[in-house]
Amino acid sequence: MSGQKERIVLDAAFQPQVRTDRDTRRLMLDVIIALIPTVIVAVLQFGVNALFLCLIGAVSAVFWEALYRFLFKKESNIGDLSAVVTGLLLSLTLPASAPWWIPVIGTMFAIVVVKQLYGGIGRNFLNPALAGRAFLLASYATLMATWNIPKALSGTVDGVTMATPLASLYSTEAAGVMPAYFSVGRLFMGYIPGSMGEISALAILIGAGYLIYRNVISWRIPVSFIGAVALITLIFGKKGFGNGEWMLYNLFSGGVLFGACFMATDYATSPVTLKGQLVFGAGCGLLTVLIRYFGGYPEGTTYAILIMNLCTWAIDKGFRRHQFGVTKADIVLQKAQELAEKEARR
């Protein structure tokens, strides 16, 4: 025994000596799991093509990430699954009618330009999936706004494509007239056209519930985001709608829920401070409604989140908390002292 003892080299490893089991990979896996209900709804409404697009998004994102890391001789990090999440999220913002190469281009922009060029995971300041989507919107406007009729509405509506409830909601001509098949209940279930991931509020909320339950994300951003949208639309309603009805339509149509639960909560591009997260979420909600009300384009979520992404750093700086033991009185006192010092210097 003592002979063996001599040969053992002991580490002076630093504390803590134990770590949680939940590493980056596990968190990303949880996000993927949380997206499953949404993917299922997409497949039910738009057929296997939806699944196909999701897979292409995930695979191509991993491909770009691996390629970039290989070309620039950096250690591969595809094991952390973050690229899979980005690819999947990007695909879910697409219409099911998108051709297969759309997610490939989108993920290239998302992974190579937005994520890796800024140093990889955790360093980017724009949400990669949303930036990829914005890039696609700018480059392929028509392809990105061609909405297939979901299975739930086939037979009810003629043709191959149709307008989304959000477009109907904000269309200037038929103010206050929502077709009967766009009832709030049907919006909630996802029996509507739209981007693959955003249609079913139910599926999104199940996924978000899972993420919050598993403490992958905190409740702060989704709740403040959705809360802000709800509050503003409740107060500033639209003629022809009951205020409550208008609010629910705004929440369940377009990307508000998906954005609030899956996009705005992206770690790298949202604040880490607790108060900051509330401010960030509320800001996203406010901008979303502003763009919807006053922008030329009904869908405000993407840009709202991207704009707030740019403010993340400032928000984190501005909404720090005080260390344990510091009371409000202490802060007032400190401020007063600082002021007095300034005065004295003058």
Binding site: L10, L27, Y267
Partner: protein, 450 residues
């Protein structure tokens, strides 16, 4: 009502209080380091060749912040020389060859009932028996308690035992409940306070029930059940959970009228006063994947770490590190020949199974470090400024308030070495402050000369 604090983590507890206390056979040679407390180290008071009895003082220092050390066996002094210390470095130690007779030393007599009502006698006895903070802080208890007299109106006994693996406090509660209550009463009397609050995490419900059944109120003690959360046992967290008072940054609990004393320390006070027995042994939880199971081993102070492992069945796997204390705040010993000391509540022999560090960690900005920091700090930014060597911002982000609990690093999915960085950063800042002070003083001296 269950009391707690904000933040914190729920590590995998790995506790084994069902394992009964086992007695580790004393080794053939014990090593008694002269530094087993914070403060002035002791000077040896024995020489090579002296015969010593079990419990005899072998090192002492009259400085106020100090506590004597005692021989944990009877036998002959074979060396007085620097030896490896478990917390690193080599420290002057007295090495005693065990004669396996355990001839007791009767320098300390049990106190009489009258004496146990006199705070000064109790305080003196705490010192003479070498009682230090046995939860791991190792601050001389007599000094801490004396310093609190007049300032402290609430005595808090820490029974959280929130670190994973450790069971010593729990087993002390279960096996020696009455002695423990009496020990707390003594500390309470020595502190000049009416009431002591004993905060215990509710994963020790059996101990809470047992202690409550013994009418703690007759000793002036109230049991406070606490939520199971790390670091519930941190001083500031204990004070907040029990009293709702918030210790100011950089201040001691006595600043808000509290003193926190650990379970095992109170038991040591009991032994010192009722039995006249100094601190020469304690329950040490021995565990970790290299051992493969858990032992709650009554171990003599000065037992070499390698010998301790052998006594606990030896290694089933090659150990990679020896953790002293709990795995959250414990630091590593790097020498099998280093002995256990008073403040070591656990010795964990870890293999690479417990090691989750990665080569090139990347922060993913998840904010999970912020969520759990019980001091309300922002570890992610502190780490950023640390890597940049930005002292000014490190201070602005209050790195000095970090008490190195390890919660942030524990919870970090990207495995950033946060706590370690803050430890280093604090040392750097302290060194810098000391340097600046020295420079300022030198300058002042020069000016004075002119």
């Amino acid at each position: 009502m269950i009391h707690t604090f904000k933040g914190g983590v729920h590590p995998n507890y790995m506790k084994a209080p069902q394992v009964p206390i086992s007695v580790v056979a004393p080794p053939a040679e014990v090593i008694i380091p002269m530094a087993q407390h914070i403060g002035a180290p002791c000077k040896p008071v024995v020489q090579v060749g002296d015969t010593v009895r079990m419990g005899q003082v072998v090192g002492d220092n009259p400085a106020p912040v100090s506590a004597p050390v005692h021989s944990s066996v009877s036998g002959k002094v074979v060396a007085v020389e620097p030896r490896p210390h478990p917390l690193g470095d080599t420290i002057m130690s007295v090495v005693i060859e065990n004669d396996f007779r355990d001839t007791p030393c009767d320098d300390l007599k049990p106190l009489t009932e009258e004496e146990m009502k006199d705070p000064d006698v109790i305080l003196k006895r705490m010192r003479d028996a070498g009682v230090v903070g046995m939860g791991g802080a190792m601050f001389p208890t007599h000094f801490k308690v004396r310093g609190g007299i007049g300032k402290v109106d609430k005595l808090i006994i820490n029974g959280a035992e929130c670190e994973p693996y450790l069971n010593g406090d729990h087993l002390t509660m279960l096996n020696f409940p009455e002695q423990l209550l009496k020990g707390i009463e003594l500390v309470r009397i020595a502190s000049h306070v009416e009431k002591a609050y004993y905060g215990i995490e509710v994963n020790k419900q059996d101990a809470i029930d047992l202690l409550n059944s013994l009418h703690p109120e007759q000793y002036g003690i109230e049991i406070v059940p606490e939520a199971v959360k790390y670091p519930q046992g941190g001083e500031k967290m204990q004070v907040f959970a029990v009293t709702g008072r918030r210790v100011k940054p950089g201040a001691l609990p006595s600043g808000v009228g509290c003193n926190v004393v650990s379970t095992r320390t109170c038991y040591a006070v009991y032994q010192a006063c009722y039995e006249g027995r100094p601190v020469i042994d304690r329950i040490v939880t021995v565990s970790g994947s290299a051992i493969g199971r858990s032992f709650n081993a009554l171990t003599r102070v000065g037992t070499p770490l390698g010998y301790l492992a052998e006594q606990c069945g030896g290694f089933v796997k090659t150990p990679r590190k020896i953790v002293l204390g709990g795995p959250m705040m414990g630091i590593c010993a790097t020498n099998f020949d280093a002995p256990t000391i008073k403040g070591i509540s656990g010795v964990l022999y870890f293999t690479e199974d417990e090691d989750k560090s990665v080569k090139d960690p990347h922060c993913i900005r998840c904010g999970k470090c912020i969520e759990v920091c019980p001091m309300n700090l922002e570890p992610i930014f502190m780490y950023m400024y640390y890597t940049k060597g930005d002292y000014e911002n490190l201070e602005k982000y209050h790195v000095m308030d970090c008490f190195e609990c390890g919660s942030c690093a524990y919870n970090c999915p990207a495995r950033m070495p946060l706590t370690h960085a803050f430890k280093t950063a604090k040392l750097m800042l302290q060194a810098k402050a000391a340097k600046e002070k020295a420079a300022a003083e030198a300058k002042a001296a020069k000016e004075a000369q002119k």
